[in-house]
């Protein structure tokens, strides 16, 4: 059990800045999902926390104790590797037992714990096999069993579900989450699967290009993205972005773009006035665009094409030169070229500063 703190963490590989000043405080017992595009430094972050990687600069603290220069073995962390790294020359039992053997636990205790972990992960019938005789999913569970059996201070998992088929992945997701809740181990979980992040994390840390973009609860990340990167990265299909201008006419305030002019509510006006710009980037998620709503927030356009996904229909609308994407119920049928009116939810849009890309509202 530990609280994990990273202070100004940097890791450079020559000219590549894999981590470029990460400040992150993780409360004890939290399940934190590290989310970000490929190559953004997620694995590197885990490796720095575990001690496998020497940091270029910055500190790592466990419970306020500086562990930056400690080797991995003295940190009391566990890790599930992206490739599992289940030792091929040891049977499943020995794989799980080995960390305890290293720490000189007595036999009875080892047996008890292996039994416990194996039952928990439903691999107790496989204890006598070699890893080569296991399926990917089974091997992964062995890796997890090995990682939890010692009740580490921090549990690190690097895309542990990435190699599983869809069904198994969904199953393992909830199993892992339940497990973590039961053990209460501080966990950092790497993925670039958004659904995984949203469903599993107590907290989500979104990274891009070695920098922490936002750290917050899943709802926060989704509903209050801190910047354009997070807004665009979370959610599928991607958020619609349009350039708008903030303007006043006869005491009323509007957001004006090439294709619409929306009135702005009073509370928002104060916020917008405080910024140093009149131009903003307007963002709205496809799921916040509907076929009915308030007239003032409507736009007229032409159906460009639709993607029928079953539960949802993704609608691409052409409005003059702009294209908007909306996520509609699956039973909606629209023809290409048809003229329609779409309505945006006035409570749900976002505005970003065009230069800093930070959220204004």
């Amino acid at each position: 059990m530990a609280e994990v703190k990273m202070v100004g963490l940097k890791k450079y590989f020559g000219a590549v800045r894999a981590l470029d000043g990460i400040d992150l405080e993780i409360e004890d017992g939290k399940f934190v999902v590290l989310l970000g595009p490929s190559g953004c430094g997620k694995t590197t972050l885990l490796r720095c926390v575990s001690g496998l990687e020497k940091v270029t600069d910055g500190r790592v603290l466990f419970n306020e104790k500086d562990v930056t220069d400690l080797p991995p073995k003295s940190r009391n962390v566990s890790m599930v590797f992206q490739s599992y790294a289940v030792w091929p020359h040891m049977k499943v039992y020995d794989n799980i037992a080995y960390p305890m053997k290293i720490k000189k636990y007595d036999r009875a205790e080892i047996e008890k714990r292996v039994e416990w972990a194996a039952r928990l992960l439903n691999i107790h019938e496989l204890l006598d096999r070699y890893p080569a005789q296991l399926s990917g999913g089974q091997r992964q569970r062995v890796a997890v069993a090995r990682a939890i059996v010692l009740e580490p201070a921090v549990l690190l998992m690097d895309e542990p579900l990435s190699n599983l088929d869809a069904l198994l992945r969904v199953m393992m997701r909830s199993e892992l989450k339940k497990l973590q809740e039961r053990l209460g181990t501080t966990t950092i979980y790497v993925t670039h699967d958004q659904v995984e992040a949203m469903t599993m994390g107590d907290m989500i840390a979104v990274m891009n290009q070695g920098k922490l973009q936002q750290y917050g609860k899943p709802e926060e990340i989704y509903h209050k993205p801190a910047n354009m990167f997070v807004a665009g990265f979370i959610g599928s299909p991607r958020m619609n972005f349009l350039n708008v201008e903030f303007m006043e006419e006869k005491g009323e305030y509007y957001l004006m773009s090439d294709i619409f002019r929306f009135p702005v509510g009073n509370e928002k006006v104060q916020e917008l006035k405080r910024t140093n710009t009149k131009k903003f980037v307007f963002g709205i998620r496809p799921e916040d665009i509907h076929l009915e709503g308030e007239k003032e927030y409507s736009v007229e356009g032409e159906v460009y094409f639709t993607e029928r996904l079953g539960a949802d229909t993704i609608l691409h609308v052409k409005v003059d030169k702009e294209r908007l994407v909306a996520k509609l119920p699956g039973d909606v049928v629209l023809k290409e070229g048809e003229r329609i009116t779409i309505y945006m939810d006035p409570e749900k849009f976002h505005l970003f500063h065009p230069e800093t890309e930070q959220a204004v509202i």
């Binding site: 490796r47 496998l52 990687e53 020497k54 270029t56």
Partner: protein, 287 residues
């Protein structure tokens, strides 16, 4: 993968013993060879003068070059055929593969003794021919008067012994040739011969080159086979070096021979690498 550590001194520390060892046992002797070769009572080039003044040196050089020139193409040809044959992957080919690789384990000493078993005056060949009444007295293959026969026995022995070395390299190259190229050729209606000359051979070029380079270098240092089968009947460079070192106890001349071999090896390597498309070869050599 895995190349993640930044602390530079650890890998260097790990390499250091190897480096020191190689400097001591290869670097130092190399320098010492130069010093010894250029030291004599008749000035720096005395040994070279002495060398070139003797008939043996030129004869040794000639013989070494001749042997190299004869055996390398033969080995290459046989190895190529063997590799193509094995690559058909017929049933039981692994067994034949093992048989072909037996000479890999044998030293030049045992290979020459095997060949002696066959070609000795009372060897199996002579006995067989005599019993078939093809000849009534043994044919002599060894001895100063039969230099030509000796030469061909040496060639045969070397071909027998070292063809598998070439074979292994070419087979490895052949196995790396993508099957789809050949299937594509089938679709375009290439004949067997066309497939061989237009597709397999060009793709095999890197392997063939590295095999050639290696074989030429080693052929140039040939010693055991010649020494055992012919002694100094057929002088060769390495044999002369050995003779001057152990029989005459003159390290300076021995080193001069060594230097000549090293020099010619260097020229051979350089020639191969320069004239025969280094790009291919480098890729092949480094992994």
């Amino acid at each position: 993968m895995g190349e993640r550590e930044k602390r530079d001194w650890i890998p260097l520390l790990l390499l250091l013993p190897t480096l020191i060892y190689l400097i001591a046992f290869l670097g130092y002797p190399l320098i010492e060879t130069f010093i010894l070769a250029f030291t004599s009572d008749q000035g720096a080039l005395g040994n070279f003068k002495r060398l070139t003044a003797t008939g043996e040196f030129w004869e040794a050089l000639r013989n070494t070059l001749l042997i190299t020139a004869v055996i390398v193409p033969l080995q290459l040809g046989f190895a190529l055929m063997l590799a193509l044959f094995i690559n058909m992957k017929f049933k039981g080919y692994t067994f034949i593969l093992y048989i072909i690789s037996i000479p890999l384990a044998l030293s030049d000493v045992s290979a020459s003794l095997m060949s002696y078993t066959i070609f000795a005056p009372m060897g199996y060949l002579n006995k067989l021919l005599m019993n078939l009444h093809i000849i009534d007295r043994p044919i002599y293959f060894f001895g100063f008067t039969y230099q030509t026969r000796e030469f061909w026995v040496i060639v045969l022995t070397e071909v027998w012994r070292a063809t598998p070395l070439v074979f292994v390299i070419i087979l490895a190259g052949l196995q790396a040739v993508n099957k789809e190229y050949l299937e594509a050729a089938d679709i375009f209606g290439f004949s067997r011969w066309q497939k061989f000359t237009r597709i397999i051979l060009p793709l095999l070029k890197p392997s063939i080159l590295s095999a050639l380079l290696i074989r030429t270098l080693f052929a140039f240092q040939i010693f055991g086979v010649v020494w055992l089968l012919a002694g100094r009947d057929i002088p060769i460079l390495a044999g002369e070096a050995y003779y001057w070192q152990t029989e005459v106890n003159n390290s300076n001349v021995a080193c001069t021979y060594g230097l000549v071999i090293a020099l010619v090896s260097l020229i051979i390597s350089w020639a191969y690498l320069t004239f025969l498309k280094p790009g291919h070869l480098e890729g092949e050599v480094t992994e």
